[in-house]
């Protein structure tokens, strides 16, 4: 059903960073050459296991290894070759070109990969130099995503980034002069005390370089991070909701004026071909397969599973997988597992519908209720007629689209989570 027919994507999580940023809540850590070596070895093993699984070798899902109902019994239903590879993390650009080559070779050698595959590398400006740029192109990297975050020196130091605005500029220029299909950069805004003027100056500077794609993320203070602790002690005061909204609207206005089309809450591209092909798979329930700690996978129908989040647990899981004939079962966090997989769930139709709403309303493509009804047998439209009408009247949804197609306006995009929450999701009708 779903997007089973769309080509799936591959994600590799490289869990290492030179240091951990105070706002970061990804599964990352610092780590020397030995740790990294171990990681690569096990990553290749994980790829190998899946390769056999996809070829139908080995006992596909290893049910005996799972515990009770929480079995992660990975299955792969897509028959299409993968057409995106995303090297994320963490800081994958800190791996040497040789190691990156090894990983890519393993993927190409053991999994079905489409010839026109889009390969994204997340890169730290500090890792960008002529040598690396050349190697990355040689390796077939098509999209370079630069973690620049800001061109404002004060902002960079607040965010705990070690690069300077000059270094960021040089990295960006270098990347643009190379022949990647897409050069993208990440920015963070809505920092404590940030005025619209200050943010506008920062954003304008980024625009001046003319990258193909820009992601502008509002600063989020995640639980468990250093910023969260500062906030609790009153040493970090987030911007008020109205100020955040103002910056958000300013961002979208400025981007539009400069030819960047917003296709998602935080993502802007200079043309449709520069949109992230990989991220889109997350947003429309296409299949994706993830490797490395904390990586998530989805079978394109209803099953999602995820790896152990912590590197040691993921490693332990892979170390215990016996030889070639085995498959993957559930590992148990903290104990010796037989698998790097930490858990899984089967999404009920109502879950899929809620996710579709939440994700679709974050995009300018919107979400088609008729399609949801056909796919999942849930009539969202029938149950929420009055709501939809009022959202259109209040200028949160675009008025012009066909009745069943919900497309958020800019104001709607700014409150997409609230929109998603306001829908009543009725039970599925057997169909």
């Amino acid at each position: 059903m779903t997007n089973r027919l769309a080509p799936p994507g591959l994600y590799i999580h490289v869990p290492f960073c030179a240091r951990v940023c105070p706002y970061c809540d990804f599964a990352v850590q610092t780590g020397g050459p030995r740790r990294r070596g171990d990681f690569i070895r096990l990553l290749l093993r994980e790829i190998g296991l899946w390769s056999r699984l996809l070829r139908g070798e080995g006992s596909a899902p290893d049910r005996s290894a799972g515990q009770g109902s929480h079995q992660a019994v990975p299955s792969w239903r897509s028959e299409q070759p993968f057409d995106t590879i995303y090297l994320g993390g963490g800081t994958p650009s800190s791996l040497s070109p040789e190691v990156l080559e090894e990983i890519l070779a393993a993927l190409h050698g053991s999994l079905p990969i489409a010839p026109e595959v889009d390969v994204t590398l997340e890169a730290n400006p500090e890792d960008v130099n002529t040598g690396n740029l050349r190697s990355w192109q040689r390796l077939g990297i098509t999209t370079l995503s630069l973690g620049i975050q800001s061109f404002d020196p004060d902002a960079l130091s607040f965010l705990g980034r070690s690069h300077t605005p000059e270094k960021a500029g040089a990295a960006l220029r270098g990347a643009l002069e190379s022949s990647f299909e897409t050069v993208s950069l990440d920015l963070i805004f809505a920092l404590p005390g940030q005025s619209p003027m200050r943010w506008e100056a920062d954003l304008r500077r980024a625009i001046e370089y003319g990258p193909d794609h820009i992601s502008c993320y509002e600063l989020t203070v995640h639980e468990g991070t250093r910023f969260a602790r500062l906030k609790e002690r009153g040493e970090l005061v987030e911007l008020a909701e109205d100020d955040k909204a103002e910056l958000f609207l300013l961002t979208h206005r400025l981007m539009a004026e400069n030819g960047y089309h917003a296709y998602e809450v935080s993502s802007f591209a200079r043309g449709p071909n520069h949109r992230s092909r990989h991220n889109r798979k997350y947003w429309d329930h296409t299949a994706y397969l993830g490797f490395g700690p904390s990586a998530h996978s989805f079978d394109g129908v209803s099953r999602r599973w995820w790896n152990e989040r912590r590197l040691p647990a993921w490693e332990a899981g892979l170390q215990r997988v016996p030889g070639a004939s085995s498959g993957l079962g559930t590992g148990a966090s903290g104990r010796f597992g037989q698998s790097p997989i930490a858990g899984s769930e089967i999404l009920a139709p109502a879950d899929l519908v809620l996710e579709s709403l939440a994700l679709g309303l974050r995009t300018t493509e919107g979400v088609d209720l008729e399609r949801l009804r056909d796919l999942y047998g849930i009539d969202v439209e029938g149950e929420n007629g009055a709501l939809v009408a009022s959202l259109r009247r209040d200028d949160l949804l675009v008025d012009t689209s066909p009745a069943s197609l919900l497309v958020p306006t800019l104001r709607g995009l700014a409150v997409a989570d609230a929109l998603a929450r306001s829908f009543e999701i009725p039970p599925a009708t057997a169909s």
């Binding site: 997350y282 809620l354 949160l396 700014a414």
Partner: protein
């Protein structure tokens, strides 16, 4: 019987009753040292936390006096706060004497006076005792004067103690057995025992506390409650020490407990008389008047599936708290709940806190109200305490509200500011007279409503703690009452309506609107909050639509996390109540009821 002494300790709040009880208990070996803790009898968590006594507590002690005689002392520690004066009244009925404590640093205060009158009504022997003489600010001579002048008691019979340090305790005990009369009564006569308290025990059912006036109570006996006629077999009787101590019988003069298979709270009335079925007394003991609630508020569970639980909890609370009343209520907005009556705001507070603490219920309360007497054009009289039942103003001939006679005792230097406060509170016929040099008693006739809300706090503040207050209900007087409605997006929220004097309507409406504005979270659309009398809008606030509510990033493929967060937020909405399409959370309701110092 000659060796029994039944007495209670009475005083103004905080004068040291519970601390004195501690000393008496220790002196009489009623508690092992390792079991001892301060204010031993205040067993409720809430009592210990707030350092106040809410319920009377009874304990039986044994004391061997200087004359070599061993006495049985039945001591009742009582609460000091005016809301709980019914507890005092009830305890006094079980006694022949009262120890009246007066704080040596505070002197005679309003409740001291009120309690003396209660004790005199019951014809009890009063033993005045000055407490806290260890304190540097103690001024025993001045207090002796007040005991003479304000109370008309004999200063020469007044003892001086420090309950905290234990000084004067022996002398107090000796005086107690010498001066307080022993109980009278005939243990062979037909049974008459007063139920003066009851508590619910999960294993034993209802445990009654009784004072036997005539006859004897024994296990196996068939007993009858004289007012409600119900009959039970006595299963067990005994004394209340730190633990219950089983006895073969309780005879005239004794204070103790009775267990008799009574299952439900509602089955008994505190103040009822127990007699025997085989040989009933001619008439019940006289004089007990039930405490009548004066403040009413409806309590609703935040989540409607807790309604049944709320009913059970109220039933159980009622067992230990005869003054609490409740009956089913319903609101178009809040569904089913209970309309409850309380003795005052502290009582309301305590009940609410016990419900949420001991039963883990989340509750919504409506604005507290007193009882109004409404005469409609058709000549009918209505008693209205619930705004929902307030008749159409066009049909109202006259409304009367309850007035109290208030008495304030304080140093005269605060006279000016206190007079101002009384004026603001619509006080009438305000008078004052000197009790002694520098000390005045101010009396005033005030609407009960004005006294219930924030009066004590403000009196305490402006008199820097030296003013004390007591009141009694007087009569009903004509008033200019209006019903203030609160509208959320043009929809009347019945649970937020209130009945107030016209002069106070605007201020109360503004307060409510402000609090709602502060506590209603932003939603998809603008929310108008209005206060209105009929069609006239008298206050207005707005909650803006939210403008930013979207996470910046979806964590790679971890969409499950996003979905679970949304589900949780949706769940959170269920803890709010919806009015039209507006979610009003519990905090908003509670905030409306809180008085806000900024509003003055």
């Amino acid at each position: 019987m000659q060796t029994i002494r039944n007495f209670c300790i009475i005083a103004h709040i905080d004068h040291g009753k519970s601390t004195l009880a501690d000393r008496l208990i220790q002196r009489c070996g009623g508690v092992a040292d390792r079991q001892f803790r301060d204010q031993l009898l205040d067993t409720m968590e809430l009592e210990r936390e707030r350092g106040i006594t809410i319920k009377s507590n009874t304990i039986t002690l044994t004391y061997t006096a200087g004359d070599g005689q061993t006495y049985t002392l039945n001591l009742i520690d009582t609460p000091g706060h005016v809301d709980f004066s019914h507890e005092v009244r009830r305890s006094l009925m079980a006694c022949e004497g009262a120890v009246l404590l007066v704080d040596a640093t505070q002197g005679v205060e309003a409740q001291t006076v009120a309690n003396v009158y209660l004790a005199l009504e019951q014809d009890l022997e009063i033993l005045p005792v000055i407490n806290k003489i260890d304190m540097p600010a103690a001024d025993a001579d001045r207090v002796l004067e007040q005991i003479d002048a304000d109370l008309g008691l004999d200063p020469f019979e007044t003892l001086q103690v420090s309950a905290k340090e234990g000084t004067g305790i022996d002398e107090l005990l000796e005086t107690l057995v010498a001066k307080l009369p022993p109980p009278q009564g005939d243990s062979g006569a037909p049974l008459k025992a007063l139920i003066f308290d009851a508590e619910y025990n999960a294993y034993r059912g209802v445990v009654l506390l009784v004072r036997v006036f005539e006859g004897t109570l024994r296990p196996g006996q068939m007993m009858r409650l004289m007012h409600n006629g119900a009959e039970y077999e006595v299963e067990e009787v005994g004394l209340v020490k730190l633990e219950r101590e089983k006895q073969g019988e309780l005879s005239a003069g004794a204070v103790g407990y009775v267990i008799s298979g009574i299952k439900a709270v509602a089955d008994i009335d505190i103040g009822d008389t127990i007699t025997e079925v085989s040989r009933p007394a001619a008439e019940p003991l006289a004089g007990y008047v039930e405490a009548k609630p004066v403040v009413f508020s409806s309590i609703f569970p935040v989540s409607s599936d807790e309604y049944e639980e709320l009913g059970k909890a109220l039933d159980k609370l009622k067992l230990n708290d005869a003054a609490l009343t409740f009956q089913k209520d319903s609101s178009s907005a809040l569904g089913f709940g209970y309309r409850c009556g309380f003795l005052g705001m502290l009582h309301l507070d305590v009940v609410q806190e016990r419900l949420s603490r001991e039963w883990d219920l989340s509750l919504l309360l409506t604005a507290p109200s007193v009882e109004f007497h409404v005469t409609t054009a058709d000549g009918k009289e209505h008693v209205v305490e619930n705004p929902a039942e307030y008749p159409d103003p066009a049909a109202i001939e006259q409304v009367k509200e309850p007035y109290i006679k208030g008495s304030i005792l304080m140093p005269d230097r605060y006279l000016g500011t206190v007079m101002e406060l009384l004026l603001e509170k619509r006080g009438a016929d305000t008078q004052f007279h000197y009790l002694a040099v520098g000390r005045v008693e101010v009396t005033s006739e005030l609407p009960l409503t004005e006294v219930l809300f924030d009066f004590y706090d403000r009196l305490k503040t402006i008199t820097q703690g030296y003013g004390s207050f007591d009141y009694e209900l007087m009569d009903y007087r004509a008033t200019d009452l209006v019903k203030v409605d609160i509208l959320v997006n043009a929809e009347r929220v019945d649970a937020l309506a209130m009945l107030v004097h016209r002069d106070k309507a605007r201020a109360r409406a503004i307060h409510a609107c402000k609090q709602l504005e502060k506590h209603i979270p932003r939603q998809n659309f603008k929310i108008a909050i209005q206060g209105a009398i009929g069609r006239d809008i008298i206050a207005r606030r707005t909650v803006n639509a939210y403008r930013k509510d979207v996470t910046a990033k979806c964590y790679g493929g971890d969409i499950s996390r996003k979905r679970k967060l949304l589900e949780k937020q949706k769940e959170g909405k269920k803890r709010a109540r919806a009015f039209g399409n507006v979610e009003v959370p519990q905090e908003a309701f509670l905030a409306v009821l809180r008085s806000d110092p900024d509003d003055k």
